[in-house]
Subunit: 191 residues, 2 copies
């Protein structure tokens, strides 16, 4: 009881994952595990905050060096979870929140079945499409691809322990907090 | 998701179960399942509110009539859960809270594995003993028996899905509410 949790979160783009997590992370009992990636930083993304941005060579060197819990290729880029961001933080007594896409999460389900897996879902695909348009940062064909991607990702949701539907932000944040609180009361009989 | 829950709660005497449940039941989405028993009403207990007080003959007749989900004998009296208090309420769209002792709960784990099982525990046996003395309603030998009973019951706690430690009442109520909220986000993969 009251053990440290490794919380794995996935969400299609446009589900408000970032907003939910920034609310959760206001409590500094959490360590947000920063993933490593070989993709290019987007505007405003900061190395070591949003991602550890690595070259392909550097990424592969660290894979060789067994520095990753998991890694996967996604849309032509590597993404991975460094042990320094997860296991080492759990040992320090922190709850660790790890945001990864569905393939990485599927690996984690095998590697770390003790983790808590949460999928953040949009109320519907139509609503997701509306939000992506409203954000106005991407072109029409990119939005179409993101919606198709979201539909693929949603098919993974039943493999997670929990699904948080982000209909109203405040409710989704409260659901997320309730899950963490409840998991700390959980016995180990189901894991 | 957002399905109706059957919530089974057990707690040793003196754990503050009644106080926690009365806080939870302020929300009228819940139906509190009133158990049937053949034991004598205590001062202030009302038939149909605290228990359905039945004669031994009437209880046995209803068992014959298949009106119970489960029943068990405990300290020389019958206790049981009527279908009219659980399944029929779930069908009406209510979340049902069922308070039963550990033997009845063990039966329910087999009969209704889809239910959510919560054990309310005292912070320690010493603290439980202190609280029973403070309550001042029972004699020394009764308290001794209750403490011994609590120790036996605590050994069942790991079979439950959750353990809520009632150290500070407000925290225990919040834990309980978080568990219910989280369970409504839960996928079925673990049940």
């Amino acid at each position: 009881m009251r053990k440290n949790l490794l919380i794995v979160v996935s969400a299609p783009s446009g589900c408000g994952k970032g907003t939910i997590l920034s609310e959760i992370l206001k409590d500094d009992n959490y360590h947000f595990s920063v993933s490593a990636t070989t993709r290019q930083p987007r505007d405003g993304e900061v190395n070591g905050v949003n991602y550890h941005f690595l070259s392909r060579e550097e990424f592969e060197r660290r894979v060789e060096n067994d520095e990753f819990v998991e890694h996967a290729e996604y849309c032509g880029n590597y993404y991975g979870t460094l042990k320094s961001e997860t296991d080492q933080q759990l040992e320090k007594g922190k709850d660790v929140i790890l945001e990864i896409e569905v393939n990485g999460a599927s690996q984690m389900m095998k590697l770390r079945p003790d983790a808590v897996f949460i999928f953040i879902a949009p109320p519907s695909i139509a609503e997701l499409e509306r939000r992506l348009h409203k954000r106005g940062t991407e072109k029409e064909d990119v939005i179409k691809e993101r919606v198709a991607q979201a539909e693929r990702e949603l098919s993974y949701a039943p493999k997670y322990d929990y699904i948080v539907v982000n209909d109203a932000l405040e409710d989704a944040v409260d659901d997320f907090k309730a899950i963490i609180r409840a998991e700390k009361c959980r016995t180990d009989k189901n894991k």
